[in-house]
Amino acid sequence: MAYSEKVIEHYENPRNVGSFDKRDESVGTGMVGAPACGDVMKLQIRVNDSGIIEDARFKTYGCGSAIASSSLVTEWVKGKSLDEAGKIKNTQIAEELALPPVKIHCSILAEDAIKAAIVDYRKKHGLEQPAEQPACKAA
């Protein structure tokens, strides 16, 4: 199948690959997906004292679109507050990468990964979780 140029570019030069120490107080870790479905994403955010995401890392097991989606969101979350990052929508990711319909679940997974990392960070700091926004689930 043909991938868009942006997917190929992220896939070939993935941004922010790697891991932070997940026990670090300033780090939030989100891991979503399952090997059985063919994709697992781990997204980590490092949050500074003012509540701004100053850095992010990812590792993804999955197809080219899944890798590109996670690479893209590590760029997008940087410089955002937790609330702002939590508002990133899968449709924005899918649009930016021109994902075909069969790959929309990759963008949904990336959105879920951001949310999971934010939840993890808030839990660590005893912060109130915002009203539960149901993460999109692929059918």
């Binding site: 090997p35 063919g38 590792k59 097991y61 999955g62 197809c63 080219g64 069969v102 949904i108």
Partner: protein, 402 residues
Amino acid sequence: MKLPIYLDYSATTPVDPRVAAKMIPYLTEHFGNPASRSHAYGWETEKAVEEAREHVAALINADPKEIVWTSGATEGDNLAIKGAAQFYKGKGKHIITQKTEHKAVLDTCRELERQGFEVTYLDPEQNGIIDLGKFRAAIRPDTILVSIMFVNNEIGVIQPVAEIGEICRSKGIIFHCDAVQAAGKLEIDVQKLKVDLLAITAHKMYGPKGIGALYIRRKPRVRIEAQIHGGGHERGMRSGTLPTHQIVGFGEAARLAKLEMASDNERIRSLRDRLLAGIKELEEVYVNGDLERRIAGNLNVSFNFVEGESLIMAIKDIAVSSGSACTSASLEPSFVLRALGRSDELAHSSIRFTLGKYTTEEEIDYAIDLIGRKVSKLRELSPLWEMYKEGVDLNSVQWAAH
């Protein structure tokens, strides 16, 4: 060296230039309809068709009268299975096949189920090969037909065709064998094997696409009902004007295969072993299916913790096929690997390399180097690899399936 390197010979093969040269005059010069009995144009093409039939028959040690031309093995499988089921339905309505057959067999069996037949789909063992005890146990008094392939298209394992044939013959059951991946790669002798119907195709053995053959045994006589009706060609079993140039190409490909198969196989096997040794340098590489009872050119491996589709994307300088079907929306991994009992991760991580007579050592060495670099790169990206390296048992993790 031409890129991408073609390592997908089980999908199709290039036409051997000697085959192509033989075909061309039958497009331009000798264009007559082989069924034309009234003039020399027809006589010369009829002669060419019959010569080709002799070559194809010789490849499997059959009588030329036992060969019926088809458009390919999908048609051959359909004609054999539907034709035999419909002819013998008065004797019973039970058919036995296995889960790792090609779709041409599986979907044909599904269609027969809609027509009121009952089909048993056997599971192969973990090495991909059918267990004869389980096969015997599946036979019922009303079993009329068995369809088991010679060589599996994904993992290349060789089924015990001779033994299955003995069992079927002793019980009076018709035995059809899809031999697409075996013809031209293994010796097939229908005088020794008790197969009744056997489908092959030209384009997997350096012949053209669009032409195949169905072997239909004459002694003891096997009957089938025609599926295509028309001018009564091929003794009424398959009507339609014969494509002389395709048939001539198939005949030449069969003649060359018979002559050169043994030496080609030896070379292909050593290249396949070289490829395996090269990629075995990586950790967590698993061969899918039995390595010994397998055709020379097939290597199906899973690179654990790397997803198959992203690996294919990374090694785009090599033309291979993914064992997994994740390009579809279903995200279902290969049904063949699942039938072998492979875990989801391994089934999602498989690649099929199939080598052929034009594969070179230089190409294999290029492939080994590229695969090594890209697998390592993708593992650096893989959270599963990281967890494995940290000693986490992936089966103990509660995954949120999506």
